[in-house]
């Protein structure tokens, strides 16, 4: 499965489960993140997706009682060792991390069932171990105990490979703050230890520790002002923990049973729209000049005048053809118009014999088109997305069999399912009303089953780019994904798109295409050269992350 497909499925399920519990999702970055912000603490986790892979990273928690003092020391914006500015949304200082959360990996994810298995295991871990992690560490004496355990093992609290406190040198400032808040009897020893570490770092002159001395001195002024809130040997520890558990439960108790699988969409039954209720926009395209009654009668008069007097046979044939075309359009209207409109395809156009519905997106138009021949023969074309920027650049190129710049042609196409292709062939052989209706019914089913995903996926340059890359990896020709009259034209489209994505491996892909063209499509080499000369002008238009 593609990374984007896995991502969509996982986020859909996480959203459904976590959002009702107060979690916010941040999905715009490369790795989507979820954040829970409560009065006393904030939890953050993020995950990554690749083809066939889901990975979770550390789960991190900010304990507000602690971070208030760290902010007093470091100011509101910076995180030592990081070039990030705090926005208090998904970027904020964290106190403690759960490394085990990161060890939880999805393994190889090939199917929808694989994704569901991973998500369910994730929820098991999340509502079990993660909840426990949050509860345990919100009671700060537990963190002090862990610090002492690490000290005895001679592991640094914020160790890069094993540590549990967040931060570079600021992890030491956190440790002291927590120790002070807990009225830790070993506080002074810890203070001495940090003093020693600070001296060592000064000598070693590590770049990330250059502000340690300055910030430690500032912290030493703050520490005496911190009033202890806990005690290391409180007789009320269990009661305190009970309170914490009740507080955490609000945000860590699943609304639904975590093993519940998403329900399948109920199968929709086809009901043709009665002819009188079909939107007339499509039909009006057949004879645009016949929209008003007056012009309709004028048209009739002219038809009668010319065809009636000049060529009765030709007139008869034309009238018959028009009638057949009209019948087909009427069937398409009854079967598909309402379904297309319900999927947002509300603009109807015509280019010669191609009729097409479009749905605008941020990057161009989604297109559903069909061809109606003069004899009423219907052919359903593969749906597509027309990426405006790609087509603008394609217009600047010259190559054999270049089609006109028509809005009915997309950039990326979605292959029709085999039964639909076969029905297209049946209608091609015999365009009876019955066959056309069967083709329309199968198309209706296709729209109902696939168009939600088609619209979402094909509007996403990230998805399209991943598909292209996946095809490259599996040595499947790009041509199957792209529009073009000839195979090389499709490849040119792919190369233009990849350039506009600012793909890191553009040069490699370009070289590969050049090699293939030299062997098999010499006529198209000049177009490739044109692309080469235009490269400096072709700026990044689509945001993709590899």
């Amino acid at each position: 499965m593609l990374g984007s497909e896995i991502r969509k499925m996982v986020l859909r399920r996480l959203d459904a489960e976590l959002k009702p519990l107060g979690w916010k999702a941040y999905k715009s970055g490369h790795n989507p993140a979820y954040v829970l912000d409560t009065r006393y603490y904030k939890v953050f986790f993020e995950m990554g997706f690749k083809e066939g892979w889901i990975g979770f990273f550390y789960l991190e928690m900010a304990i507000k009682d602690v971070e208030t003092y760290i902010t007093e020391c470091l100011g509101p914006e910076r995180i030592p060792g990081f070039s990030l500015t705090i926005d208090n949304k998904s970027i904020f200082r964290k106190t403690i991390k759960d490394r085990n959360f990161s060890n939880y990996n999805g393994g190889v994810v090939e199917t929808v069932d694989d994704v569901n298995v991973v998500v369910e295991h994730f929820f098991d871990y999340f509502f079990g171990s993660t909840k426990k992690f949050v509860e345990t560490n919100l009671y700060l004496p537990n963190i002090v105990r862990k610090m002492d355990e690490f000290t005895s093992l001679e592991i640094i609290w914020g160790d890069f490979e094993k540590g549990f406190l967040c931060g570079i040198y600021d992890s030491y400032l956190r440790a002291l703050t927590i120790s002070k808040l807990c009225n830790d009897p070993l506080y002074n020893e810890k203070l001495d230890y940090v003093e020693l570490r600070c001296k060592i770092y000064e000598e070693k002159n590590y770049p990330h520790y250059k502000d340690f001395r300055r910030d430690f001195e500032r912290m030493k002024e703050i520490l005496p002002t911190i009033e202890p809130k806990y005690s290391m040997d409180s007789p009320n520890e269990e009661a305190e923990m009970e309170k914490i558990r009740a507080m955490v439960a609000k945000n860590f108790t699943p609304v639904s049973a975590p093993t519940e699988k998403p329900k399948k969409k109920a199968a929709k039954k086809f009901v043709p729209t009665p002819p009188e209720q079909v939107n007339q926009e499509l039909l009006s395209l057949l004879n645009p000049e016949r929209i008003s009654k007056e012009s309709r009668s004028l048209q009739k008069q002219l038809m009668d005048f010319f065809f009636g007097k000049k060529d009765n046979n030709a007139s008869k044939e034309k009238t018959e053809n028009a009638q057949l075309q009209k019948q087909t359009i009427e069937i398409v209207g009854c079967y598909l118009d309402a379904s297309l409109r319900s999927h947002g395809f509300c603009n109807v156009h015509r280019n010669k014999n191609v009729f097409y519905y479009t749905r605008p997106t941020d990057v161009g138009n989604l297109i559903f088109s069909f061809t109606v021949g003069d004899n009423g023969r219907l052919c359903i074309n593969p749906p597509s997305i027309r990426l405006d920027k790609v087509e603008e650049w394609m217009q600047k190129l010259f190559y054999p069999f270049k089609p006109g710049n028509f809005g009915c042609f997309g950039t990326f196409t979605l292959q029709l399912p085999k039964p639909l292709d076969e029905l297209n062939d049946v209608v091609k052989a015999s365009a009876t009303d019955e066959n056309i209706k069967q083709l329309c019914l199968a198309t209706w089913q296709f729209i109902e089953d696939k168009f939600d995903d088609f619209a979402e996926n094909y509007s996403s340059p990230q998805y399209l780019w991943e598909r292209l890359c996946a095809y490259s990896k599996k040595s499947i020709s790009w041509e199957r994904l792209l529009f073009g009259v000839t195979p090389p034209e499709r490849v040119l489209r792919g190369i233009v798109f990849i350039k506009l994505c600012n793909d890191n491996d553009f040069e490699d892909k370009f070289d590969y295409v050049e090699t293939i063209f030299k062997k098999k499509a010499n006529d198209f080499l000049p177009a490739l050269e044109e692309i080469k000369s235009l490269l400096p002008e072709m700026k990044k238009e689509y945001e993709v992350c590899s």
């Binding site: 790795n31 990554g48 640094i156 890069f160 040069e507 070289d511």
Partner: protein
């Protein structure tokens, strides 16, 4: 490969020392000063016992000696190769390796003598060659 890498460092790093490095793959890096983005094929990272990242080696995996760098790699490696005191780079998004993470936003410094190119001529059992990436190599390929 570690033998070859050790040789490429002029034996300044022994194979045993190299084994102590964490290996990350496909690390997204942004050049701090210029903002350019590159993805490093292999990043070897060593943290001190203090937890501080003290050494970073970047290895670019190429099919052959003549395979060109991508435009972004040229920018990134050129920035490192021409730097006097190492080039500060930021991890663009979190990556991990065997339970250890390089977090989004984390800054790392890469010295100009710590970037290498490896190629095996496209043969999995073929001879591996490692060479240091210099500003000359990147510059020649840039212009």
């Amino acid at each position: 490969m570690l033998n070859k890498l050790s040789e490429a460092t002029g034996n300044r790093l022994s194979v045993e020392e190299l084994k102590q490095y964490q290996v990350f793959t496909e690390v997204p890096l942004v050049v701090n000063a210029e903002g350019g983005f590159m993805k490093a094929d292999i990043v070897l990272l060593k943290a001190s016992s203090d937890g501080e990242i003290i050494d970073v080696i970047v290895i670019e995996n190429k099919l052959s000696k003549t395979t060109e760098f991508t435009a972004r790699q040229k920018e990134g490696f050129y920035a490192i190769a021409k730097s006097k005191d190492g080039c500060e780079m930021t991890v663009h998004y979190t990556v991990k390796c065997e339970g250890v993470e390089l977090s989004k936003g984390q800054t790392i410094k890469i010295g100009k003598d710590k970037i290498y190119r490896i190629h095996d001529h496209g043969e999995s059992n073929g001879p591996i060659e490692i060479e240091k990436i210099t500003d000359r190599i990147v510059n020649v390929k840039t212009h």
